[in-house]
């Protein structure tokens, strides 16, 4: 390696820390996407097992299964983490492929709003089955 080559970045360490990189948001998005995906590994395996358990089940059968506190809790955790992972993933897709920044912002907000509403709807359905 040549020692006489150096890159002079005209930026203080504080400026680098404040700017939190080119995206101006630091590693929060990237890190949360990874943490949620790690959590979804066991949750997905449980979900597949649960769906196989419920194959052909009637509505009272599903209601009885969800009324088990462990199943209800795991369903709620699965719903929360799935929709969080989903809006983070959709955000990256919008950022990468939508050229118009206003359209991009609207699509990201739409993905986040849809994730929030669908997640709440699914959670309330689980709570109703679990608590009645």
């Amino acid at each position: 390696m040549r020692e006489d080559i150096s890159i002079n970045v005209r930026r203080s360490q504080l400026g680098r820390a404040r700017g939190v990189g080119a995206g101006h948001s630091g590693v929060g998005h990237w890190r949360t996407e990874r943490i949620t995906s790690i959590a979804l590994v066991p949750l997905t395996l449980w979900f597949i097992y649960a769906m196989l358990h419920l194959v052909g089940a009637s509505q009272p059968g599903v209601a009885a299964w969800v009324s088990n506190p462990i199943n209800a809790t795991l369903l709620l955790v699965l719903i929360a983490i799935t929709f969080q992972h989903m809006h983070l993933g959709l955000q990256v897709i919008c950022e990468d492929y939508v050229a118009n920044k206003w359209q991009m912002a609207l699509m990201i907000l739409g993905a986040k709003a849809a994730s929030l509403v669908l997640g709440l709807l699914a959670s309330i359905a689980v709570l109703k089955l679990a608590l009645t």
């Binding site: 995906s37 979804l40 359905a125």
Partner: protein, 143 residues
């Protein structure tokens, strides 16, 4: 010139002629490779699963609403279109699951060599196919 960005594409040859700078090849020029195909498939299955959450939410809301609404969902799922959607949903879930683990391994610094990347890619494809068929075989056997 329709776009200001076109101004950046103008150049001169050594004999002074004005030319358009060459563009990098468009996507369809590149030969498909397992690496690039699986990369885009991760996003495609991610979008498919996002749309697929509608089915999960519908199923949960119907179960919470009562036997009538639940029978409507079960009727849709058992229809040819419903079965097709559900199988696509299963395959997308397994692909995103296995390829997600592959991505987590890369994030941790493992499997970056090209032969390893190709091997893990084919492993994802085979695991997706086997798991999807196996889960459906078990599901239909339980039915």
């Amino acid at each position: 010139m329709k776009d200001v960005r076109d101004a950046l594409m103008v150049a001169y040859t050594s004999d002074g002629k004005t030319v358009r700078r060459p563009l990098s090849p468009h996507l369809q020029i590149y030969a498909p490779q397992i690496t690039s195909i699986l990369s885009i498939m991760n996003r495609v299955t991610g979008i498919a699963l996002s749309v697929g959450t509608l089915l999960l939410v519908w199923w949960l809301v119907a179960a919470a609403s009562g036997p009538g609404a639940f029978a409507t969902v079960q009727g849709f799922v058992a229809s040819p279109v419903g079965l097709f959607v559900l199988f696509g949903w299963t395959a997308s879930l397994f692909f995103h699951f296995f390829n997600g683990i592959r991505h987590l391994a890369w994030d941790a610094g493992f499997g970056f060599d090209l032969p390893q990347t190709y091997a893990s890619g084919w492993a994802v494809v085979i695991a997706t196919a086997v798991s999807s068929v196996l889960v459906w075989a078990v599901g239909l056997w339980l039915l």
